[in-house]
Symmetry: C2
Subunit: 338 residues, 2 copies
């Protein structure tokens, strides 16, 4: 079982409109809702890959009730009534709800999709304030779950009320239980969390630059390792992934640039890395899986879902190349432009 933690879960609402006109009244043509938050998205992809997963974090209020109901309605493999995954039949595993109830109300996120331009305007509520007693209750539950997990993933932002060192605390508890732990967050929670020595961190280019002060990916990735990450896998958008690990450094890139909706592509990459870790795949295979899943997510028509056929097609065609471990060669590596 893989445990994913989403401290700031969300009810993700999508509005489709003919065109979004600011400072005017806009009729919404179509409304859809689904359980959201990075760890929940990761669990949905893990389930579709056949890995049993347990989701935890906080949930409360009417939006929390809606989130739990929708999560329960998603069949094995994260397959809701309207099909989570495009393509071949699903042979998925269950997602188990171990969310901890709180007095506050789970936040909503609203994605307004403009059907004319295809652009999305995102509105994110701040989330409920979590009390010290609720955090203590979560820690007790988390220790029990982590003790029986094959791997733990800590994903996303912290809700109000949670101390900035929370992820560092969760990393230490997982390590004390002897469980591999992945951290996917940003800002100060990432800075504190990485110092607690997680097995894997997966920053994107912006998060990595904010952490290390460098926009040179190979240098920044290695710097992140020095800060405490045992392995660091940076996601570089359309350019794929760059990994710095105790076994070596690799770049993994999709065979062609893919166009589509990048929402959830990072969460699919995390699911690819976690499943590869649990299956004890060599690094190049883990990275190929993560890149193929990520690209298949960009290609899927619905945000945050992946196209199974595209995944199967892309997987053998991902180019994984080992990087020199010589720091003096870094300047020859292709630079990441903003």
């Amino acid at each position: 079982m893989i445990l994913t933690v989403t401290l700031n879960t969300a009810l993700d609402i999508t509005y489709r409109t003919a065109a979004l006109t600011p400072h005017a009244t806009n009729r919404v043509a179509e409304v859809s809702e689904r359980p959201g938050g990075k760890g929940i998205n990761v669990a949905r992809v893990l389930a579709a890959l056949g890995h049993e997963s347990v989701v935890t974090g906080f949930v409360g209020g009417r939006t929390g009730d809606a989130l739990r109901e929708l999560l329960a309605a998603e069949g094995p493999g994260g397959q809701p009534a309207h099909a989570a995954v495009t393509g071949a039949p699903v042979t998925g595993a269950p997602v188990t709800d171990a969310l901890v109830p709180i007095a506050g109300t789970t936040r909503r996120t609203i994605a307004v999709v403009d059907e004319t331009t295809g652009d999305t305007t995102q509105l994110n509520e701040p989330g409920p304030t979590v009390t010290p007693a609720e955090w203590a209750a979560f820690l007790t539950s988390y220790e029990g779950l982590a003790a029986r997990a094959d791997a733990v993933a800590l994903c996303g932002s912290l809700p109000p009320g949670i101390h900035v060192g929370a992820y560092a605390e969760l990393v230490r508890l997982a390590r004390a239980a002897g469980r591999p732990v992945l951290l996917d967050t940003s800002g100060e929670p990432l800075r504190r969390g990485i110092a607690a020595h997680p097995d894997l961190v997966k920053p994107n280019a912006d998060e990595l630059a904010q952490l290390t002060g460098s926009r040179e990916p190979l240098r920044a990735t290695r710097d992140a390792r020095r800060r405490g990450g045992r392995s660091v896998v940076a996601s570089l958008g359309a350019a794929g992934l760059l990994a710095a690990t105790p076994d070596g450094s690799w770049r993994a890139a999709p065979p062609t640039a893919v166009r589509g909706n990048p929402t959830g592509a990072g969460d699919s990459a995390v699911a690819g890395l976690l499943s590869g870790l649990v299956e004890r795949l060599p690094w190049p295979e883990r990275l190929a899986r993560a890149v193929a899943l990520s690209a298949a997510t960009v290609l899927a028509p619905a945000a945050g879902e992946f196209d199974r056929e595209a995944y199967a097609d892309l997987l053998p065609r991902v180019a994984v190349t080992e990087q020199s471990s010589q720091p003096e060669q870094e300047s020859h590596a292709p630079r990441q432009h903003r």
Copy 2:
């Protein structure tokens, strides 16, 4: 008791953001929710004026539950915990919930207030589809409520599934019960509804022009009477109201132009007209009340609420002038420009 009908009720959500940037991710700083839909807004103002009111229409799903809970939490006078009315202490009357449950989910409306510009971007969900059986259940309930109402107000748009002649049907039922009935809607439901001879219709300038084809307010108002409205009160925005009634025609204008948020100003005018009707005030007093309430709503800091002190200050200063009944003088009346 005054009965207000809101067939397409809504959970009104307000998001405050530092600035709304389209096609980007926007953090919402503050979230507030309240029961919405025109008839519910009218009832809230009636209650603040000391008139007992009953709200009916449809309600369903989690958003419907939230709407009912918030409605019950509003104290006498439509006073929620965060104060519905600005100014003097409230001496209000209760709003009674007689909403009819449906299987569908009550719509949300989202008002995104940009704190930098003060502008509001509105997103309106379409609303649930009402089944024929639910409409039949509503009619039974409505007939019982209308029979004991001093006046009936039919407010707002029709949700999907309701036939376009629905307001005409509700007008006829109220008239058959001998109850005065006000209609405040637009488009084809207004066209059909007015033909059933409501006692009062309150179109705005656009609705009136759409109904009659004329943008000359006095001519259009009198045309609307010929179409079946016993009295017609047109709201002309900052210019106030224009009334054509069996007792004469009047213009009523605020003493000075007011600046602020016009959301709910029309609903406050309806509450002023209804309360004046039930209190059997002469037309000039009803119109003065409606104009003062409407202007005090524009002046209130929160959308759809009215400033009691501004209302008390404005009421004696509203200018009500009788209009000539000679059609040949219409061309001398000031024209309404868009």
